[in-house]
Symmetry: C2
Subunit: 504 residues, 2 copies
């Protein structure tokens, strides 16, 4: 058994390296690839992804897992194995099962259909013509449902899709926390809309791009981002990627008339990067050196971006630094002006640019529509009308066109159903963690106001990152906070913060 385990670790290590090599090719594609190199890069990626899949699903892997007592029903294998090895087997087995349980033809058919669907979506959005996308959407829903069935979720395929991103969660558990979340955020949004709008004109003027980049690097330095183990570059859509255990890269974008965008994207991605940089040594280079889930990852990025990064203590320390890069624009701006401007709440049509109050409402909208689509309660043809209706009810605005409504996101066009809830779950997880952190480090605000993040980072490392991917989100939450999933900490935080700003 010892030999089988050793060999499986070698296979896992090679899988890890192979995956990171693929990440190098993708990172390069988003940052530095010359325009005409795109087509061939896609071929390179397809080839290497195929080889990675072949290697993971080789018969030897299945044999080793059996020898270790790991099955689909008992993924952790032999009970005599140490806890760490059992967690390793669980997580490894999960990827293995996901790969081998899908027939090869199904995978290539789905990949081809996704390509066509995404292309159709691009045209549909450009021409504001949902009917062009509809037949593809229907196919994408079918493929997603079929995939869940292959994985054993015959009775509730949508739960099978949610499980991809949030292991251990299901639509019932998510629905239970999203219900009060939707009601109270909608109510708060209405109250805020009745208040005078804070002035943010000083943020919406020309900010020199080179100075934005210099301030971005300074920000990272002050947060403690280790440039010997990472980088920051520019891409159209900000992201974090892992090219090696000591090579965690983030990207951001700088827009000349929207300085906030680069600042908060940088802090957000740094939050993802900190998680990836600080896994314990014993998990290094294994499948356990990974976030617990999409939502837990998002809890880290949104904690840094919003709870820390949009707080007043944070800017007490950072505003003078930022002012030195943009003296003209920020000369007369006080910390209160700045704080109110970066926390401007304004119902809008687009999730990615949404404020902290309405953000989760955009997610709830998609969750409810996805549930209805997969339960058969909503016909895909009725989606545009359903979207407008829900948008009006939850956020109070209505898109004039489908391009700005149901067609705004790429996710559905590539069959990524079940992905959205993680974004809002991140907010909820984050505030549950934060409540515990503040209990453990009572002077958090003072430390942030000093620009001293060491204690916060150490706490996150020793209580959350230390687990890597060993625990599923509900177990991790319970282990860290002693509590179950709840929207209460997030709602208390939001209601109290915005009561302060808007007097509601």
């Amino acid at each position: 058994m010892e030999q089988s385990l050793e060999r499986l670790h070698v296979i896992d290590r090679e899988r890890y390296h192979f995956e990171k090599a693929l990440a190098v090719l993708r990172w390069d594609q988003e940052t530095y690839l010359p325009e005409k190199g795109v087509q061939e890069r896609a071929e390179q990626l397809a080839l290497l992804e195929g080889i990675a899949h072949q290697r993971l699903t080789a018969p030897e892997t299945g044999r080793l897992l059996s020898e270790l007592g790991s099955t689909h029903q008992n993924p952790g294998g032999d009970e005599k194995l140490p806890a760490l090895e059992r967690d390793f087997l669980k997580v490894f087995r999960r990827s293995y099962d996901r790969a081998v349980m899908l027939p090869g033809d199904f995978v290539s058919d789905a990949a081809r259909a996704e390509g066509l669907s995404q292309a159709a979506w691009i045209n549909a959005r450009r021409d504001n013509d949902f009917s062009v996308f509809l037949p593809h959407l229907v196919k994408m829903i079918d493929f997603a449902r079929q995939k869940a069935v292959y994985w054993g979720w015959q009775d509730n395929p949508y739960d099978g899709l949610l499980d991809i991103y949030e292991p251990g969660m299901d639509s019932k558990a998510i629905g239970a926390v999203f219900a009060p979340l939707g009601q109270r955020l909608s109510a708060l949004l209405k109250k805020i809309a009745a208040q005078p709008r804070p002035d943010n004109a000083f943020l919406v003027q020309d900010y020199n791009l080179d100075n934005q980049a210099s301030f971005g690097r300074e920000l990272l330095k002050r947060l403690g981002f280790d440039m010997l183990r990472g980088r920051i570059d520019i891409s159209a859509h900000p992201f974090t990627t892992i090219l090696g255990s000591d090579d965690i890269r983030i990207t951001t974008r700088y827009l000349s008339r929207h300085v906030q965008s680069g600042v908060f994207a940088t802090i957000h991605e740094a939050g993802h990067a900190f998680y990836e940089m600080d896994f314990p040594e014993e998990l290094r280079g294994t499948c356990l050196a990974d976030g617990a889930s999409m939502g837990i990852h998002e809890s880290q990025s949104r904690l840094w971006e919003n709870v820390i990064g949009r707080s007043k203590p944070f800017w007490e320390n950072m505003l003078p630094a930022m002012r030195s890069y943009f003296p003209a624009a920020l000369y007369s701006i006080t910390i209160d002006d700045f704080y109110r401007a970066i926390n401007l709440v304004e119902p809008s049509l687009i999730r990615v640019e949404a404020d902290e109050v309405s953000y989760s409402l955009h997610v709830i909208l998609r969750f409810e529509l996805e549930q209805a689509l997969f339960s058969g309660n909503l016909n895909p043809a009725e989606l545009p009308a359903a979207w407008r209706e829900k948008m009006k009810a939850l956020i109070g605005v209505e898109p004039e066109t489908d391009s700005k409504g149901v067609l705004q996101d790429v996710h559905w066009s590539i069959g990524a159903f079940g992905y959205f809830p993680s974004y809002a779950l991140g907010n909820l997880y984050g505030l549950e963690f934060w409540e515990k952190l503040k209990a453990d480090i009572p002077n958090t605000d003072a430390l942030i106001a000093e620009g001293n993040f060491a204690a916060i980072r150490t706490w996150l490392r020793d209580t959350i990152y230390v687990w890597g991917r060993r625990l599923e989100p509900p177990v991790l939450l319970k282990t860290v906070t002693g509590k179950n999933l709840s929207s209460e900490p997030f709602l208390s935080y939001i209601e109290s913060k915005y009561a302060g700003i808007y007097g509601v």
Copy 2:
């Protein structure tokens, strides 16, 4: 047979993509990899190189080659095949044979020994202690000899090593052209040393690095480098690498007190890149989309760097452009001042920074020493003394230390014997091509003086690049120029150019 050929093309195409994916990882390592990511990148590369080797040497490949009639003795296969397919089989078979004729143990033993040898060389150079390197050097010579024997060069292993870099060339042919080259360059160098030294002080002052980079990009644009199919970045040692058929990247370096370095490295690498960018469509993505040899590749880079890039017509057009980036430094510098300064001849100890006259002499020195080592006429222990003696005889200078002498280059420490001659062969090939080009395009100088390089690039494309790797260097040379290898065109060019500058 048709099916076998089709399948072999698929294998070759995948080999091509895999190789380019590896190139992405290596490019990133030299340009943007965070400092602490180096160790894991080496593991990623080792894994992927191993997989690439496994795939190339899979039994299926050997079977397909047999089915097509390709053997070690008759690599081009069945004579009924079209010429292009026969060339494809020759080149593919060559890589295949090189890979399968070495026993696996030998390859890994050699790789391990190389690692140790390079580490020993680094220490030996740092401490100026040849004795630390000597035992490793002996091993490297043994491994290289053994490798040549495995490939079938029992009678003259050194020819087997030369053949890696210059297919179809051997030490006799190279010796025949290097003999007059050495004599006449040495004689010219002595004459020049007796003349007054041109003033190049204006080049050896601070040149702003950002402006150097901006001028570098302008230079590339004026040369016609296609930024939609390539990039320029910065690395410690300039190089060109191919990440895809439409993704050819060069690197350069900018030194604040040595502006020439970045300028000529940029032009040199652009010469390599033009070759790779302009292979004909029919060779795209195959093993024939490659330079004919190291030396032919070097003929292109050195043609652009020296014959074009260090000519007076070139700077008649470029100096005003360069002056606009460095007005203070170049304000009062005339085209004649500039031309003399960038063509300063000064015997020195180091090949990489050598002028056009002494450059080939550095190469001849290594060629003669390598020949002596492999024929058994020189004991490796006697190498430091032999180096000093030859340096004195050929170039007229003598290193004070072994670090600046026999230990200066990395090549021998990693067993790369037979590599050096290509550098000087590049000069010879280049001038033979150039002679023909000038006969075909009589107003070359006038075009260069206008900054119009289109006709030159078209000629190079249609007469040289069009062959890709189909022809071995001697055949390519004959096909393009109608002549055999000779040092005469290069020597006439050098003697006439430097007679003009130094009045010798």
